[in-house]
Subunit: 342 residues, 2 copies
């Protein structure tokens, strides 16, 4: 990791002098101060060629990686603190979908120019979520270029307890956590396709900008779920990945898709609301549960104070259908979903 | 990891139809076919939300991450296969500088458009180096945006044997592997600041485009070196990081910096050649060795058939000096080095 890369910083400065620019060293120092290593299992953190880490005995290592590109994965103009939060959140969501306990993260930050204010805000958002889950930032790389953020997160699972995509079996119940569609509505508001009052705007944009990864739910599902995935691309597309990996099909009850009261009030038309609910970026967990364990789901929902809604059933015949048996094209909803977040 | 992310692929296709475009699924399939998991310690590889990996008992985990941006870290127009090689090579070089044995890699690939030919060539270059070091590609993320490649590599070290930057002590000898300056000369040729015959051009460009990480040397140095770093930004800048981390200074013998015969023939002027030797991108290892172990360096050089040249001595007084005691500004060579590789 080029954590204190004077050479490149020099080139940056030569290439684009900027009164608010800071060197890469300061940039990393800011990130380290905000979210640097504080865990005993971090033997060497930020500042060397690499991090040296200790995986607990008897645990398997889970590694996830997600990239956010400005204008594709978040609207241009999104606050730096929100981008910092979201860059980590989408990765913790992947760890949750694997049933992993989060531990460490690394960050590759590509910035058009070194900008002290932007980095400070980015680090604040990143650190706020990192602290909530005891995640240590152990290294990274900062480079000059178009705004792109890649985060890799590491977590642990007990042997053979990772949640997978390929374990769904005919007869399993399909559940989803929380509600669907708020993030898509938030994006529609940003893009001026929807309008509402300030309070609702704030609430829905928060779902887009500051998704809350379902980390504790992921841990609770280890011994319950036969398959799991997080909802980033829309429930139809993501459930489709589970079906493909498991070699099964499903009936999805579109009327059962959970919606927030804010979304119901804003978009009373069922068809329009459903389009948003299939839109993605919710970072809820979609999971399947064998019939004989379904009764235990309610207890988890109560314990975590998280709505867990049954939305369908796994079936033997391949393909995704609605409750009336009509085929649902996973990409059939692409025209509803955003093309980009520019 | 959005390895089979139909949603985003759909959005890519909607946004920019392209006859040679391929979906993200095919793109990942190509990478998996070329360099996918074949190691027994990969329990779940590409295709789920994350990879599940087993770190050998009694080993510490070393994690490195480096980003390449087109026009900054490689010249625009660089062959896709060379970019694939280099993206992994710079990370294996960081692992070597930590004394770590390489194991796994993940890849975040941001492409302006899905391009089957480009990805095939990229995967070929990546896989060629991965196979050489038994590195398995265990996951990744592909997104649309300006060409940027982030690779994270994982390796193992025995407890407390990782090579660090902060262990150099006054009296230690400073060594560098191989030769310095070929990559900078290769870049000068690409940028038409230097001209030579086809054979020399090919040889020097290979040093720029296909750096060979010093993996075996890194392993051999575990019990010998007091500090190590890889030379990516130029020997003065990188040695400077070791000095800072260790709280020491150094005398660097500029006349001792090793140069290839090709470079000596192409740039007979000593001053001009030295500028190239300080230019960076060589991915050699720079390391320090306590006085009582210096005699063992020659045996390693013979065993690995790798030149290891003594280029200076660590001193108590902070700062970097030449053999005559004149201060060497680490950034004083920035005007020689490339500003970008556009």
């Amino acid at each position: 990791m080029r954590s204190v890369d004077v050479g490149r910083t020099t080139r940056q400065r030569v290439a684009m002098p900027n009164p608010s620019s800071i060197g890469e060293f300061d940039l990393i120092a800011r990130l380290r101060a905000a979210a640097g290593a504080f865990r005993q299992d971090v033997l060497i953190g930020i500042g060397d060629d690499g991090a040296v880490l200790r995986v607990p005995r008897g645990r398997e290592l889970v590694v996830v990686m997600d990239t956010l590109v400005a204008g594709v994965h978040f609207p241009r103009g999104t606050a730096a603190a929100d981008i910092g939060w979201k860059a980590l959140a989408v990765n913790l969501s992947d760890l949750a979908a694997m049933g992993a306990e989060p531990a460490w993260a690394t960050l590759a930050l590509t910035l058009p120019r070194p900008d002290a204010r932007w980095v400070k805000d980015f680090a604040r958002g990143f650190a706020a979520l990192a602290k909530r889950h005891h995640v240590a930032l152990v290294g990274g790389d900062t480079t000059r270029g178009p705004l792109t953020i890649t985060v890799q997160a590491h977590g642990f699972v007990p042997p053979r307890q990772a949640l997978r995509r390929d374990g769904a079996r005919a007869g399993d119940a399909i559940f989803v956590s929380g509600t669907l569609g708020d993030a898509a509505a938030g994006l529609a508001i940003v893009q001026r396709r929807l309008r509402t009052d300030a309070t609702t705007t704030k609430r829905l944009r928060a779902r887009l900008d500051r998704p809350v990864p379902r980390v504790l739910l992921g841990l609770a599902l280890r011994e319950l779920a036969s398959a799991a995935i997080d909802v980033s691309d829309g429930i139809a597309a993501d459930l489709g990945h589970v079906l493909d990996a498991s070699g099964v099909g499903a009936a999805l009850d579109l009327d059962a898709l959970p919606a927030s009261s804010a979304l119901c009030a804003l978009v009373p038309d069922v068809r329009a609301r459903r389009a948003l609910q299939l839109g993605g970026d919710d970072y809820e967990l979609c999971f399947t549960v064998p019939r004989n364990k379904v009764a235990r789901v309610a207890a988890i929902a109560r314990a975590l104070r998280t709505p867990l809604t049954r939305i369908g059933t796994i079936e033997r015949a391949p393909g995704l259908r609605d409750a009336n048996g009509r085929a649902l094209a996973r990409s059939g909803y692409a025209h509803f979903s955003r093309k980009s977040q520019a």
